[in-house]
Amino acid sequence: MNYTDFLKMIPEAVLTAILVITFICDFASARQTERKWMNPLVSVMFAALTVVCLLPMAPVHAFGDMYVTSSAVNVIKAILAFGSLIVVLQSRSWAEASGKEGEFYMLLTSTLLGMFVMVSAGNFLMFFLGLEMASVPLATMVAFDMKRNESAEGAAKFILTATFSSGVMLYGISFIYGACGTLYFDDVRHTLMTVIASGDLTKVFLPVMGLVFFFSGLGFKISLVPFHFWTADTYQGAPTTVTGYLSVISKGAAAFTLLSILFNVFTPMDRYWHVLLMIVVVLSITVANLFAIRQGELKRFMAFSSISQAGYIMLAAIGDKWPTSVSALSYYILVYVVANMAVFSIISVVEQNNGGKTDIDDYNGFYQTNPKLSFLMTLAMFSLGGIPPFAGMFSKFFVFMAGVDGSDIHTTMGAWSYAVVFIALLNTVISLYYYLKIVKAMYIKHNDNPLPTFNSDNNTKFALALCTTGILLFGICSYVYDWISMAA
């Protein structure tokens, strides 16, 4: 074995270094009662990681094609690192209050390491390892508030569904192994081509079953609709910072991996998974929107909103062309990261000043006392809903464009993909309704005793500034989309 291959995994090596440094610092300062330097240290390291990921890197093939990167993979890694930086920045006051900040940053770093391994896997074994490295520490992060009942409840639901879904996914992978005799993505694709071309129904059966099980296993992770039951409870129960992390970073990484496996491994079976994906996307967007309308708890509301956003993310995979699909998906994730993290940072600030309550009614008259925070929340809601000058509109536009790209409306499948995009378009109107409900609560609804005026700490302010810059500029500066589409 050639150990120099480890040096080719630059982002993973940097993450491992962050993990080790955090561990040593946490260990060495275990007796200090206040560790105010911890968060700035970790933030600086994550900023460095983002910069490293942004540097142009040549595509890498290491460990006999177990680890494969392309420029699109590097872009999604940079986006995930940037999102984690925002999470770390805004987690400061909550993590210091919990008294276990070292453990929190270590768990966060190790899940991110798992996601990096997952998006750059070239083999189903490597993919599975990355997925588990990501989801096992995530469960412990959901259970992080050990004193709150909801946190324990949410974590139990998360770990049971995560384990179950990886069992289902593995069953699918075992079928694919049985059909192809290999687990390397490239070899599986080549074998599947001959199997599908033979048209022998007994031979096609095994990979199709494998595809269905695999898809439903990953559907659990992205929380697409028939597999979404854990989402609302886990999101409500988890600490707000962790909910933000779950809803953007973990979802983004899993969605990218699903897209890349569907396009690069199951290429010969596209007529099977296109149908599957269309049904799931339409269900996710519609059902989640209808449920979101009736929520009275803001974190639960954001959970249903994130299910419908997951539907929009996967809409990009309905298209036929890899470059447009992958750049639309990465761009959507980037815009979703800034908008959603802005919302969760504000929820977290409000929660800490409101005795842990996150009901939407608590936001009535929020504008009277905290005009700046409510303005930022409004921007983020507008971006999530897709109102024009903000980035959310552009990301939705690119996703819709990718959804119909290369499909001919005169064929049956082409007409169906147009129909799916049209349904998604109608659903943006519904989503606008419930996003504006929050805005209405903050600005219009009258409240005799609104929340008191409060100040957030500097790190949260910086995180919010990053998010707002993203919401305002990622859409208007065409450079951002160019950078992503150039890499695809």
Binding site: F128, E132, V136, A143, A156, T163, Y177
Partner: protein, 102 residues
């Protein structure tokens, strides 16, 4: 030699018994055991496919080993979380952790 079909049927049975148990059991530990059945059916599938269909390589065997190790890690975390649930609710029944609804 035992035919591949028998392994296939056995693992399918194990898988669906596990899924059925996961859906119907009302006890967190029993749900965890059902998940273990699902994971064991996967291990059986990989080992049998490797031994009988593709005896040249050993990818399936390696996958089985990794999957056993990882499922052990998952179970450890799940048990820790279930203990935490028990401390909060003094019960390991599913209906005791249905406080958040709709």
């Amino acid at each position: 030699m035992i035919q591949i079909e028998y392994f296939f049927i056995l693992s399918g049975l194990l898988f669906f018994i596990g899924v059925f148990g996961f859906v119907t059991r009302r006890n967190l530990i029993a749900m965890l055991i059902s998940i273990e059945l699902v994971l064991n059916s996967v291990d059986l599938n990989f080992a049998a496919f490797n031994r009988l269909l593709f005896p040249d390589g050993s990818e399936g065997m390696f996958f089985t080993l990794f999957s056993i190790g990882i499922s052990a890690a998952e179970t450890a975390v799940a048990l820790a979380i279930i203990i935490n649930v028990y401390r909060h609710f003094h019960s390991d029944q599913v209906n005791s952790i249905e406080n958040m609804k709709w």
